[in-house]
Symmetry: C2
Subunit: 155 residues, 2 copies
Amino acid sequence: MENTDKRRELQVSAIENGTVIDHIPAKSVFQVVKILGLEDSTEQILIGTNLESKKYGRKGIIKLANRFFEHDEINKIALAAPSATLIVIRDYQIVEKTKVDIPDQVVRFVRCVNPNCITNYEKIATKFIVIDKEEIRLECHYCEKVTDKTNMVFI
Amino acid sequence: MENTDKRRELQVSAIENGTVIDHIPAKSVFQVVKILGLEDSTEQILIGTNLESKKYGRKGIIKLANRFFEHDEINKIALAAPSATLIVIRDYQIVEKTKVDIPDQVVRFVRCVNPNCITNYEKIATKFIVIDKEEIRLECHYCEKVTDKTNMVFI
């Protein structure tokens, strides 16, 4: 019996220093992988998806050794995974735990859905006002067209 | 001390039924994710990359609940990750452990590098003879051009 019980749990090393992104909607896990450029990382990464979560249905989790996030990257994570929690680990201890927050404005890293928008043919950074933080709807500061979750492209 | 020790190990549920792909070269982990279509899976998936491995340098591992592979998919895994081991789990027990094996022929799932090859403009399945299993070099049965690891595209 003891052997069987042991097999049901696999030991995975916890990270010494880094960030855990928890409560990612399962369908957004690989989008977060992509926008954070994790495919090319040489640091340890653990990813789980379609895990059971009472609160969020099926969730994903990403554990990143030696990676810490600042404003722009946190905003990107928030747009792709508004329910995400960021847990900062130092020396194996949780030193910070925060829910990501959708910003009021999104500058630079999302493409405007309108092909005729000035930001798509001149070298001007995109800029949006977030008009709906639940459904994630971004109104372009320049052309006023609305980019939403279904057509959001990160640049 | 006990608390500190506990924090160093995180318990992750083992899979009841499914397949573990171990010993994936770290740089090929997300390629394997892509060729197996895991981005769209609704089953539990655990992925680790850049993990320490005495034998293989930095390795990756992918654990897939309720997923079992057959010939074509195993051949795809072999081409992307020739060092991979497939471990089949049933009722929490390892029931099969095999090293993937580069096939002698590759039919259908790799694109020929030659844009003028008949397989690229007519509806003909690609077919290659594997002329180098170490470096992974595939000679096209139709145009004899060689497709290798650096320009291999899975279709």
